[in-house]
Amino acid sequence: MEAQTHIAQYDLLFIFSHSPYGSSLGREGLEAALAAGAFDQNMAIIFMGEGLWQLKSEQDTASAQRKNHQKMTSALPMFGIDALYAQASGLDERQLDLSDFYLAAKPVSDATIGVLIRQAKQVLSF
């Protein structure tokens, strides 16, 4: 168990664990997170599992006729949302690394994610 004192506490934690285009979850989670940012919440987002694909750079949706998830997600810092975490084990499994991402996210262990969740007041999962 890691020292819990070094892991931040959030009032509202978003867990994104689904891919951006396979369902409406990616889009709707992002819209909820942007709303929370607009309300100035003490919040963070954890990208894990398939949710890591949301941060993959070079998304070009013009020919797929889909709204570009990357463009929307890039707005997070403008909404004051800069506590972004990426599941380190999930990165390895998908042969991704942080240089594949268009936004800076902090890699964290599964144990740290567990602590982030248990220290959070509320969790919304998408």
Binding site: D11, S24, A32, A35, A38, F39, Q122, V123, L124
Partner: protein
């Protein structure tokens, strides 16, 4: 204890539906003396409050059951407006706003719930002891 329930699941969907779980959980917690700060229907969950969904005879009518629960306990029931419009669940205002001569639309949001924005979800998490997602 004060709960907010976030319902992503539709009564009839590709994935096995937790919409029934959400309803029974809500009913039970109220019977146990707890309170609901807000029901927030998001994503596919907006279909729970579609007045145009017809349930076959002999089957549990989930939309009607939600409406009865909401009325009985005077629950604050909010349906995400963006998610609802995309999926064709409209209140009176939205029906009039989007209807055209070429496109007839129904006002099909069950009475007792309202369409509103995602701010209502964020506000609810900040004012509840527990927020539980059913998906």
């Amino acid at each position: 204890m004060l709960f907010t329930l976030v319902i992503h699941a539709a009564p009839h969907s590709l994935l096995g539906s937790t919409a029934y779980n959400a309803y029974q959980f809500a009913q039970c917690l109220l019977q146990e003396g707890h309170s609901i700060h807000r029901l927030f229907f998001y994503g596919e969950g907006v279909h729970n409050l579609n007045a145009q969904a017809i349930t076959p005879q002999g089957e549990f009518d989930l939309p009607a059951a939600w409406q009865a629960l909401i009325t009985q306990y005077q629950l604050d029931s909010v349906v995400c407006i963006a998610a609802a419009l995309r999926r064709g669940v409209l209140d009176d205002n939205e029906q009039r706003r989007h209807q055209t001569a070429q496109r007839a639309l129904a006002n099909n949001l069950l009475d007792g719930s309202e369409l509103s924005g995602l701010g209502q979800l964020i506000d609810a998490t900040a004012h509840s002891d527990r927020t539980i997602t059913f998906a």
